[in-house]
Symmetry: C2
């Protein structure tokens, strides 16, 4: 069991990425979904970045590698990856980030540092349940939750002082 939610500390990110890719391959195989080269490369690019990437950031990286890509190329890959829970879209940033709980069928809660831009995904079932209950108390039938918290990560709180 890998240690999860290692927040903002340095780590072997290459290992992160290859593990994420391996899991993605497994998930897609299980579900008979085709993780084509383009889709896999997009997923890898997103994982390689510590910060959420915009669709056009991904596009730029693809074209800089010689890939003959246009916006639809990227958006289609991203749609696919989202559909299989491999990446999340951060609505408040218009950007995408690798899902750190792929395959676990969850509602993510995102902690977004406004200083360094890093994002930590949490899975807090108590929070999710509280939200769903509040919705149902209004006779509303919840289907999808967008929960994004902007603020300061531990590292950037420290840096605030000596600026």
């Amino acid at each position: 069991m890998p240690s999860r939610a290692l927040p903002y500390r340095p780590h072997n990110h290459d290992a992160c990425v290859s593990q994420a890719l391996a899991e993605a391959r497994a998930i897609c195989q299980q579900q008979n979904a085709r993780l084509t080269p383009t889709r896999e490369r997009v997923l890898e690019l997103i994982w390689q970045s510590h910060k959420p990437l915009g669709a056009y950031d991904v596009l730029a990286k693809l074209t800089s590698e010689g890939h003959n890509a246009a916006p639809p190329t990227v958006y289609r890959a991203l749609d696919f990856l989202q559909q299989y829970g491999l990446v999340h879209r951060i609505a408040s940033l218009n950007a995408f980030t690798g899902c750190t709980h792929a395959g676990e069928h969850h509602t993510g809660m995102f902690l977004i540092c406004r200083a360094c831009g890093n994002v930590l995904e949490l899975m807090e079932s108590s929070v999710t349940t509280a939200i769903e209950n509040a919705a149902r108390a209004e006779a509303f039938q919840p289907e999808a939750i967008t929960l994004e918290v902007a603020g300061l990560c531990p590292g950037c709180q420290a840096n605030q002082h000596h600026e």
Copy 2:
């Protein structure tokens, strides 16, 4: 005390709007903020719509009234209104909706019906607290919460059956 969170039922919306405008004027006066004609008109347009309005929807309405408006006109008014808590931006819709708890200093939770497009704003301090606690448990210092729930409102749940 007006009855709040009247969810999706028919009501005298004109009265809603004028009450909201009156409250907005009071709030701005209190804070020495200038609720100029353009800003007030934008607020009114947003309130008149039952559904969240995009910035360009507002722009279209303004220009159709003969107002000589460009995108910055609208975005500036919206920035102002957000700053004073008079409207909220719904990130998952790129749209704006009148704040039903203006002046109460709160974190809104939005129930967004995917069928009819109506939005209900809740103020659930227990949910907010749970979210903030989860963030602080990761040593993250929360500043702003985006919480949007997509699903079906009571009315549209009923309509689902006979489609």
